[in-house]
């Protein structure tokens, strides 16, 4: 695979993303309350297994286990001193798994801090935290950075700018998470889709869109909003619905078939990267890829 992901998107291709990681890592020994990113050093085999499942299922962008890998997030586990090692390890371990088949997309999640004046965190602090993390993943050879699950446009922009400052070439994917309100879709911090489109593009993102928070049907509506307000390629990574509780267990209700039946609507809208988020697994991705392949043929 010589061409980068952006070249392929620009030539009209649709790429398949992967699905949820957290649940897969839980099944491989990650305990609630532990830092998921600590596994990058302590149990890299688990990452290889999960990535392999998604590559085998047909994912062409493999997300790294670095969602909480910003130094601010790692600080909660007293691991901020290991920021560079933890993030680099997440990339390195995936290289042999994806070789020639998929791209490594470095996940960059929110810091969980609120910026002044809403909270007590200075923008510089957040920017530094992203710069450390993104510096480590780009140096380790990530094919793209995926700034995801953002609710604050300013924080998303700080991450995008940090990524662009670290590397002038790395493709930057940026996604936000929206809630349904009677007045339409807004992030928790009150950002509507049109402002997200404008703000993410202005900061320098190459691909924008939404992940998490909603099942496929609402994600199709959100996708339509992005397409309406943006000229950039759009990515949609949907949850498998909203969690339901069945006999003491938490279940995401949307089956691979249910979601895959609706993937053509995303393709018709012109969505360029289609993947999953919470509740989706290799079976979902396999079903998505089959739909995408039908369009490729």
């Amino acid at each position: 695979m010589i061409k980068g992901p952006l070249d392929r998107l620009r030539s009209g291709e649709i790429l398949c993303g992967d699905g949820a990681w957290g649940t897969q890592l839980m099944a491989r020994g990650l305990k609630p309350g532990d830092s998921p990113e600590a596994l990058n050093l302590s149990n890299p085999e688990a990452l290889v297994e999960v990535a392999q499942m998604y590559v085998d299922a047909g994912a062409e962008l493999i997300t790294t286990n670095t969602f909480g890998g910003s130094s601010i997030k790692l600080e909660a586990y007293s691991l901020d001193g290991e920021t560079e090692r933890i993030n680099a390890a997440a990339i390195e371990v995936l290289k042999p798994v994806v070789a020639g088949k998929a791209y490594i997309s470095a996940s960059i999640g929110p810091t969980g801090k609120l910026l002044k004046p809403y909270g007590d965190t200075e923008p510089e602090e957040i920017a530094d935290s992203f710069t450390r993390q993104i510096g480590a993943v780009t140096e380790a050879g990530a094919d793209a950075v995926c700034i995801e699950t953002m609710i604050d446009l300013i924080e998303a922009q700080l991450a995008i700018k940090a990524a662009r400052a670290v590397s002038s070439e790395i493709p930057i994917i940026a996604t936000m998470t929206f809630d349904t309100t009677p007045r339409g879709y807004f992030t928790t911090m009150g950002v509507p889709i049109d402002r997200a489109c404008e703000g993410l593009a202005e900061a320098g993102a190459d691909v924008i869109g939404s992940n998490c928070g909603n099942g496929i049907e609402k994600m199709i509506e959100i996708a339509a909003g992005f397409v309406e307000h943006s000229k950039l390629p759009v990515i949609i990574q949907s949850n498998a619905g909203v969690p339901e509780h069945r006999g003491g267990e938490v279940v995401y209700p949307e089956t691979p078939e249910f979601m895959a039946e609706r993937i053509p609507q995303l393709i018709d809208l012109g969505i360029k990267i289609i993947g999953g988020c919470c509740g989706t697994g290799p079976d979902h991705i396999r079903a998505f890829r089959a739909v995408v392949d039908r369009y490729r043929a």
Partner: protein, 212 residues
């Protein structure tokens, strides 16, 4: 009284310095701390809470309003204590063990304070014992549990069970909330109530405590 209305209006706009200034004016003019609280600060927060519940405003506006309310509260708190003005009641809140997400929980705290409750915020990653023992020690009648992760929400059940184990059932009510939760889940684990968002949480806590 005009100054009280101004306090409420400035609070809604998130003008913390103005709220402090007006609160000081009201105190100097001899308005009682209880009146400043109820007809100024809480009246203003009530509007903020309703507008938030109706999706007319979002988290940033609420956070600024809360900051403004705190600016006023700081000034009247000693007076409220001196005047023996009672709060609506005490609520212990926190994010469940293993979960570090606190934005939703903080918002619930803001809304409860804005409604006139005293809030003891235990922060994130709180052990069941800590919830229950704090509630007992503080004489709180409600414990509010928050979770963002599907993997940690299960731990809410431990708090509900510990409340029963310690013989506090009925005395300490448990309300749960968070993005992946539902009424069905709350019932399944035996919680007393479920709040679907921060504004709703206030309504529910009021009904649990018999305030409304």
């Amino acid at each position: 009284m005009e100054v009280l209305q101004q306090i409420g209006e400035s609070l809604q706009k998130g003008e913390d310095q103005k709220v402090a200034e007006l609160t000081r004016q009201a105190i100097d003019a001899g308005v009682s701390a209880g009146q400043i609280l109820n007809d100024g600060l809480l009246a203003g927060m009530d509007v903020v809470g309703k507008r938030f519940g109706a999706n007319e405003i979002f988290l940033p506006e609420v956070l600024l309003a809360a900051r403004a309310m705190n600016a006023g509260m700081d000034l009247i708190k000693p007076l409220l204590i001196a005047d023996d003005v009672p709060s609506l009641g005490k609520v212990v809140i926190g994010t469940i063990k293993g979960d570090l997400h606190d934005i939703g929980k903080n918002l619930v705290g803001i809304m409860l304070k804005g409604a006139g409750f005293e809030v003891v915020d235990l922060g994130a990653d709180v052990a069941p014992e800590n919830f229950v023992e704090t509630a007992e020690a503080e004489g709180a009648s409600v414990v509010g549990l928050s979770a963002l992760l599907t993997t940690t929400m299960i731990g809410m059940k431990d708090v509900v069970e510990l409340v029963k184990e310690r013989g506090l059932e009925g005395k300490v009510k448990v309300i749960v909330g968070g993005a992946p939760l539902s009424q069905a889940f709350a019932e399944e684990i035996g919680a007393d109530a479920y709040g679907y968002d921060a504004a709703n949480a206030v309504t529910i806590v009021k009904s649990l405590t018999g305030v409304a």
